[in-house]
Structures are given as structure tokens and as C-alpha cells.
């Protein structure tokens, strides 16, 4: 027995994130930790790495020696190493410099760095994870899987221990499909060298392909902890979601012909590619709400930026009878497409302007007379939107940062709606806002659909998708993998389950095929 956690509980205020969780990871094994968003995976990893402190009563030991949970230093001293999702690499620096970040270089006479020795050591660790690259080349020149491997090699090189327990948090989320196999190989090498690996992942195909044991977290408890052999993807999905909730597949991949034949479509997308999207065809009719779901890396996160000009695209986007030029948000706005961007603070809010200017910025000309903006008329319009959307603010000229997140979001919704769009693209419109504001925004979305706006709702919130959508497109591997139509089968659980269940592309299939008892293709 290597890493042992017992009775780990953690609450944030009223909410309990983890309840009495036990976990055991051995050396020489890959142990996968799976669960939905909010199941407690992240909290557990953050407890291990010392970012959160557990409630009293938790016990942790590694190699028979107990250590204190919730201390960065203790975790490190005990032999735990972490590779986080963003990898924390500096792309401009060389592989060697990245591996030596925060460490001391071997020094020679007069404090000179012994570069050759440092380079030899670094490339030794790199070879152990299966990367053969010049350690002097910048990390930015490497492929995504090689970068992940460098991050793992760095964790390995920070030793003092013979054997380590390496925690990999979603290492494949950012990887293109072809790179996943190579990274899984690197993980396999760690196991062969006798290290223990705790792997957090959403990709069940990959988990089944590499893991020896799987622990499933659900609602902060351990729902199951079982050897990988003898579990298939369907069973694992059921364990994660809670019960058998797989909706019947209502025709995967709509044929392009049907898209073209659709006379009433306001938004038509043909062979769209760009970002993480590889090839996508769909259409949205006037008055229809089409939801889009998919795990991180599926292309879901790129779709709204592609449609609104934030990312350049290939293929054809036709909105309200005009074809959109790639990467030109001005043309998109002019074509009658309005967007509420994801990442409100980064892509939506102007912190130096007031509510009024923030709301009218897309079309300040509406209240122009003799070249100047007529303040009174503009203020009246903004007051009307404030009343309509129930925006809580000190007034139309309050500085934007004084509003809560939900109210800032409503200002962005008003900005989009006042342009009288024919197509509305919403990217995670209720992320990180309170329940009241969420319900109000949902009401607005439904009303817009009733008024004949074609709505594309990209969301990570399955409840929201199930509540509002006429159909939900499930993306996987940058393609449309499944469509769930409105009906009794369209529930938050079925959306969750479909996202997890779908493995797409040959790379995933290859990973999945390595484990017996796994479905080849979902």
C-alpha cells in the first residue's frame, strides 16, 4: 500500500464537497479518478496538493509514513508530485530552463552553471517519459503531448525519493486527439518505472485504456472503487452519472443534405473548422434554441468564438442570408448575429466605462443627433433595459465594476438584444452567477426564442441545456457526435452521460481497444 487517504471530508460553508472519502493508490499502478463536474475530484486534488485544508479526522499516509494533508510542503516531502492541467510551462524558455524553474542548477567554479551536466540530467528524465528532444529548444516549439511530457519529466526530476506518486490532473484535456496516445505511453512508462500515478480524466476511453484501478466520485462520495478489468464504458458511465440514463441515440451526425434542405434555417454552418472544431454541420431555425454540449477539448469551447469572429474559421457560416468572413467580428455584428461572450471579464466588460456605455457600445449611433450622442435619450433606453432585465445597479451611469457578476452578465445580454439580432450566440451565459439572475436570463432566452430569434446556446451546464433547448448537439473530438431531441429523453443526466460516453476518433478507439471488455465505438 502506498498512498492511503482515509475519512477525508471537506465542506465550503454549507456545501459539502467531499464526504468521508477513502482512496488507495499503489506504486506501479495507474489509478484513475473520475466523476462529473462538481463531484469533488478537483477538491480532492487540491487537498492533496495542499491548496485546501480538510476537516479534522482525515488521515493520509504515503509509504507507511503519515503526512499532513493541506500542506504543500508536507505533500512534497512525502513524495507527491503534481502536473496540473495548464502545465505551468514558460513557452519562451528552453526545455532545460523549464525543468530547472525554481530549482538550483549544478554550479561549478565561481558560480558558473554546469550546463552540460544539467542538460544531461534533464535529457535523462525526458527519455524516461519517452521524449527525445534537444533540451535547449524552446518549449513553445514542442507538440502539446511533448509539453505535457516535459511537465511530467519536471515532476520526476524533482526528486530525493526513489519512487514518487505523480498526480496528473486532466493531462489530455488540451491535447489534439493524435497526441493522446503518445502521452498515454509516457504514463505507461512511469508505471513501468515503479512510480504510482493518480490520473484525473474526463475521457473514459482513455481511462479504460490505461488505468489499473478506477475510483468514481459522485456527489462528494466514493461511488465505486474497482479494478479496471471487467468494467466497460457503459457501466462506468452509469457509475458516474448515478443510474442508467443513456438516452436513445436519435441519429448521430445529421447529413448535410438535410441541413441544406432546411428552408427556415437562419444560421447555417457547413464544414466548419477552427480551434478545436474539426468538422461541423448544423442549422438553427428561427425561434429555435439549439444547445451545444461537450467535454473540454471536444470543440464546444471553440464554437462560439468561431461563430462570432473571435477565432478565424474555415468552412462556411451563413447567418440571415449573409456569409460571414472569418475572424471579423464587425461583419458578424453587421450580419445580425449578436453574442454574449464566455469569460465575461476578459471578452465582454469594459471596466473603464459605465453601465450605459457598456450596454450601447455595439451601436452608440442610435441616439446620435448632429454627431453627438444625446445623453437623455440614451439614458432612457438604458433605463428601460435595466427595468426589463431586472438589472440591479445604482443607475445607468454606475461604473461597471460595481455590479455583481450576474448583473454584469445581464448588461451584456442587453447589449446583444438591443441590436435586434436574428441570431443570438450565448457562450455559457450563466456561468458563475447566482440562482436568481440565472432564472431571469433563462426567461429572457425563452422570450427571445418566442420572438423568432435563432438561438445557439453553448453551455457546460446540463440543467440549463435540458431546460431550454429544442435539441442538444453533443460534440466529441471536434465533430458532432450525437443529437438529443427534445422529449422525455432529454434530461441533464442524459446530456451528461452522452458527453462522457462518447469517444470519438481513432486515437480514442485505439486507447480503448487496449483494455479488454471495452466497447470499441460508442
Amino acid at each position: 500500500m502506498t498512498l492511503q487517504l482515509r475519512h477525508v471530508t471537506k465542506s465550503f460553508g454549507e456545501q459539502t464537497a467531499l464526504r468521508d472519502v477513502d482512496l488507495t493508490v499503489d506504486y506501479g499502478e495507474v489509478h484513475a479518478l473520475v466523476g462529473q463536474n462538481g463531484s469533488g475530484k478537483s477538491t480532492l486534488i487540491k487537498l492533496l496538493s495542499g491548496y485546501h485544508q480538510p476537516a479534522p479526522g482525515a488521515e493520509a499516509e504515503l509509504d507507511g509514513r503519515s503526512f499532513q494533508l493541506g500542506s504543500t510542503h508536507a505533500a512534497r516531502a512525502a513524495g507527491l508530485r503534481f502536473v496540473h492541467q495548464d502545465l505551468a510551462l514558460v513557452l519562451q524558455l528552453s526545455i532545460l530552463d523549464n525543468m530547472m524553474l525554481g530549482r538550483s542548477y549544478p554550479l561549478g567554479l565561481g558560480g558558473r552553471i554546469r550546463w552540460r551536466e544539467a542538460a544531461d540530467r534533464a535529457s535523462g528524465y525526458l527519455r524516461r517519459v519517452g521524449v527525445d528532444a534537444d533540451v535547449r529548444s524552446p518549449v513553445g516549439s514542442l507538440s502539446m503531448s511533448e509539453r505535457a511530457a516535459v511537465a511530467i519529466a519536471r515532476a520526476l526530476s524533482d526528486t530525493g525519493h526513489g519512487r514518487l506518486l505523480i498526480v496528473l490532473d486532466e493531462p489530455t484535456a488540451a491535447l489534439p486527439a493524435g497526441d493522446v496516445d503518445r502521452l498515454l505511453e509516457s504514463i505507461g512508462r512511469l508505471r513501468a518505472d515503479g512510480h504510482g500515478v493518480l490520473l484525473v480524466s474526463h475521457h473514459l476511453g482513455e481511462v479504460l485504456g490505461i488505468a489499473d484501478r478506477i475510483t468514481v466520485l459522485r456527489d462528494g462520495r466514493v461511488a465505486a472503487s474497482l479494478p479496471c478489468a471487467g468494467v466497460d464504458q457503459r457501466r462506468l458511465t452509469e457509475l458516474i452519472v448515478g443510474h442508467s440514463a443513456l438516452a436513445p441515440d436519435t441519429g448521430a451526425r445529421q447529413p448535410a443534405a438535410r441541413v441544406d434542405a432546411d428552408e427556415h434555417a437562419v444560421l447555417r454552418v457547413r464544414r466548419l473548422a477552427g480551434g478545436r472544431v474539426r468538422e461541423l454541420d448544423f442549422a438553427v431555425r428561427a425561434g429555435e434554441i439549439v444547445g451545444v454540449a461537450g467535454i473540454t477539448g471536444s470543440g464546444r469551447e471553440s464554437l462560439a468564438p468561431l461563430l462570432t469572429g473571435g477565432l478565424p474559421h474555415c468552412g462556411e457560416i451563413e447567418a440571415a442570408r449573409s456569409v460571414l468572413a472569418p475572424g471579423r467580428p464587425r461583419g458578424v455584428v453587421a450580419a445580425g448575429v449578436a453574442a454574449v461572450p464566455g469569460e465575461r471579464a476578459r471578452l465582454g466588460v469594459f471596466p473603464n466605462l459605465g453601465v450605459r456605455a457598456n450596454m450601447t457600445i455595439s451601436q452608440p449611433e442610435r441616439h446620435r443627433r448632429w454627431g453627438r450622442i444625446v445623453r437623455g435619450a440614451e439614458r432612457d433606453e438604458v433605463e428601460m433595459w435595466i427595468g426589463r432585465l431586472g438589472i440591479v445597479t445604482q443607475g445607468p451611469d454606475a461604473p461597471m465594476p460595481t455590479l455583481s457578476g450576474g448583473n454584469q452578465q445581464k448588461v451584456l445580454v442587453a447589449r446583444a438584444l438591443r441590436t435586434r439580432p436574428k441570431v443570438l450566440v450565448l457562450d455559457d451565459p450563466t456561468q458563475g452567477i447566482d440562482v436568481g439572475a440565472r432564472a431571469q436570463i433563462h426567461e429572457v432566452i425563452e422570450r427571445c426564442a418566442a420572438d423568432g430569434i435563432a438561438i445557439l446556446l453553448v453551455s457546460t451546464d446540463s440543467d440549463e441545456l435540458a431546460r431550454l433547448s429544442d435539441r442538444v448537439l453533443i460534440l466529441a473530438g471536434g465533430r458532432l457526435a450525437r443529437t438529443l431531441e427534445r422529449g422525455p429523453g432529454l434530461t441533464a443526466k442524459s446530456i451528461d452521460a452522452s458527453q462522457l460516453d462518447l469517444t470519438a476518433g481513432p486515437a480514442f478507439a485505439a486507447a480503448a481497444a487496449r483494455s479488454e471488455g471495452t466497447e470499441g465505438e460508442a
Binding site: D86, A155, I361, E365, R379, P399, Q440, D451
Partner: protein, 366 residues
């Protein structure tokens, strides 16, 4: 209105009328108070010399050129772009006008228009470097300023260039109406025009939007690149106008005019950005500039003409404290550069200790 949301939703709380938005804060008018303090202080110390019509005339007539230069710096700053070449643009204008009056027989009006148009072209080149080549504006315009100073050295051969000017042109630069120097009238006209554009028109809105959040501006359909480019053309043209005003007032070109004028102009804009609307603005800039100018004038009178060191000391301290106050309130530099620097500083944490712990800024997902 829009049929989209015609039946109103229930408002969670009735919005309050505008009027009591922000409490009237002292710091928003600190430049005015500072001005009053200088008048009172030096008025008490130098009763006979300081509080006189001539002091006001000296400060206002000497200050007009620098104030216009400050307005040139203000324009690109609203879009979070720095134009440090304005000082050299101004002195290039001065040397070109002087040289052309000596070596051609063109009327001074034509020469002035040519100079301003040429400088607008220089601004267009800076804009190209900043927008198309993606060079940080500080670096691009600093480099441009060296190039422009090379032009000046070439034209002037590192000598003073004293042109021949008509008496009309000299009057244009030195006349007064009811005791108010003409130069201040030009300044007020330029300031009024810029105020109108920045605060009253859709274009001004968009400039501030680009300065506040460039990517959000782009996504909202604003041609952010074109606006930044245009703001650099404008700043060069206004700086050149300041050069025309200087030539009309003083005449001859001497080396190192530009850099000496640049600094007080920057100080005024940054100080002014903490005033009134608490973002870069026209009237705040002018008030801040003349408050500081009176301070400098008072110091000079108090310590005599030998204390030439007093002015730079005062300007330096004023710039640091003004920017310190403004940026600690988040009033200026809310956009690109300083945010990037802050991000860089924050991101040093986890990178310095790669295996130590998670990024505290990481989103708590999954």
C-alpha cells in the same frame, strides 16, 4: 422598441435615478485644490510678485504650447496606446518651418499646413508599426522619436535655426485679446474639439472601449486596430500644431526642445486622468497642467532664477505621485500593458515552484 422582450420582466429592484451615483470625492478635484493651495501659498510668500496679472499671463502664455502637447498625448492614451514621439514631432515641425522660411519663399501658412500634414504621415507610420507589426506602442514611438531627432540634426546641422517670419505670424503667436493670449484661445479651441470627440460622439466611446478592453471591443464589432492607428495620426498632428504655435510664439529652433516639453505634458495627462471622470480626459488634463505650472512658477519666484533644478524636481515628483494615486485607484492603465505586467508578476508564483501547488487563480472546475 424591440419586440424581443416586449413584456417586461419583473425587476428585482427599481433602479435609482442618476444623480447620487458616486459620492463627490475630494480626489476627483484634487488638482483644483492643489491649484488653490499654490495660489494661497506663493501668494502669501511672494505677495507682490505672485498674485499679479503678469504672473497669470506668463504662466498661461508659456503653458499653452505644452498644454496642447499634453492633449496630443491624451488622444492615444484613451485607447491604451502611448505616443512618446510627440515631443520630437513638435520640434521637427519647428525646425522644418524655420528651415523652409529660410530656403523657400512659400507663405508661412502653406509651410505650416505642409508641416502638420507631414507629421500626420509620421503618425501613420507609427500606427503601422504598432498595429500591423504588433510592436508595443512604448517601444515603437520611442524608436520613432530617435529617428525624428536624427531628421532634426540633419536639417539643423546641430545649429540653431532662426527663420524669417512675417510680423503677422509673430502677432499670431504673441497677441492678446482683453489680456488673454491668442495661444490660449487656440488651446481652448483644440481642447473643445477633442472634448467633443472623446466625450460626446460614438467615436470617443469606442476609443475608451478599446482602451478598457481591446479584445472585448473587437468582439463588439469595433474596428480596434483602425482606432488605435487613427489615434496615433491624431496625436502626431496635434503635436505638430503645438510646434506651429511654438514657432509663432518663440521663432527659432534650438536642439532639445522636444524632450524638455514632453515631460510636463505626460505629467499633466497622468495627473489629469485621476481627475473628474477619473479616466484620461481633456479638462482634467488642462486643470492638472496649469495647477502644476503655477507651482513651478511659484517655486521659481520663491527661490530665484538660479534654481533651474526646481522645475524638473517638481515635475518628477508630481508625475510619480499623480500616477501613483491614479493607478492605485485603477483609473489609468486599466488596459493592456499594466494588466499584462500584473499577470506576468502573478504568474511567476506557480512557475517558480512548479510542483509545489496549484495556481491559486485556477478556476475551481470539475
Amino acid at each position: 422598441m424591440n419586440a424581443v422582450t416586449a413584456p417586461p420582466l419583473r425587476p428585482t429592484r427599481a433602479s435609482r435615478r442618476p444623480g447620487h451615483l458616486r459620492p463627490p470625492s475630494i480626489s476627483r478635484f484634487s488638482a483644483v485644490y492643489l491649484w488653490v493651495v499654490f495660489l494661497a501659498l506663493f501668494g502669501a510668500l511672494q505677495f507682490r510678485l505672485f498674485l499679479t496679472v503678469s504672473t497669470f499671463q506668463v504662466v498661461f502664455s508659456q503653458g499653452a504650447v505644452t498644454a496642447v502637447l499634453a492633449l496630443a498625448f491624451l488622444m492615444p492614451l484613451t485607447t491604451d496606446t502611448y505616443d512618446l514621439s510627440i515631443g520630437e514631432v513638435m520640434s521637427l515641425t519647428i525646425v522644418v518651418i524655420n528651415w523652409l522660411t529660410l530656403h523657400t519663399s512659400l507663405p508661412i501658412g502653406v509651410i505650416a499646413v505642409m508641416a502638420v500634414a507631414g507629421c500626420a504621415l509620421i503618425g501613420a507610420v507609427s500606427g503601422f508599426v504598432v498595429v500591423k507589426l504588433r510592436v508595443n506602442s512604448l517601444i515603437a514611438t520611442l524608436g520613432m522619436s530617435e529617428v525624428l531627432s536624427a531628421f532634426q540634426l540633419y536639417i539643423s546641422q546641430n545649429h540653431q535655426v532662426a527663420g524669417r517670419f512675417s510680423s503677422l505670424f509673430v502677432t499670431v503667436g504673441n497677441g492678446t485679446v482683453f489680456g488673454v493670449p491668442y495661444l490660449d484661445l487656440y488651446m481652448i479651441v483644440i481642447a473643445g474639439a477633442l472634448w467633443f470627440v472623446l466625450e460626446q460622439t460614438p467615436l470617443g466611446r469606442r476609443m475608451f472601449a478599446v482602451g478598457g478592453n481591446r479584445e472585448a471591443a473587437r468582439l463588439a464589432g469595433i474596428p480596434a486596430d483602425r482606432i488605435v492607428w487613427g489615434s496615433l495620426v491624431t496625436s502626431a498632428a496635434i503635436a505638430s500644431l503645438a510646434g506651429v504655435m511654438y514657432t509663432a510664439q518663440v521663432g527659432a529652433y534650438t536642439a532639445d526642445i522636444g524632450q524638455g516639453y514632453l515631460f510636463p505634458a505626460l505629467a499633466a495627462v497622468f495627473f489629469g486622468a485621476s481627475q473628474l471622470s477619473q479616466r484620461p480626459n481633456v479638462w482634467g488634463t488642462l486643470i492638472a497642467f496649469f495647477a502644476l505650472a503655477f507651482g513651478v512658477q511659484g517655486l521659481t519666484l520663491q527661490f530665484g532664477a538660479g534654481t533651474f533644478w526646481a522645475s524638473p524636481l517638481f515635475q518628477g515628483v508630481a508625475l510619480i505621485s499623480a500616477v501613483g494615486i491614479a493607478s492605485s485607484r485603477g483609473a489609468i492603465g486599466a488596459g493592456g500593458d499594466s494588466r499584462a505586467i500584473r499577470r506576468l508578476l502573478r504568474s511567476r508564483g506557480p512557475e517558480a515552484q512548479p510542483a509545489a501547488g496549484p495556481d491559486p487563480g485556477a478556476s475551481p472546475q470539475a
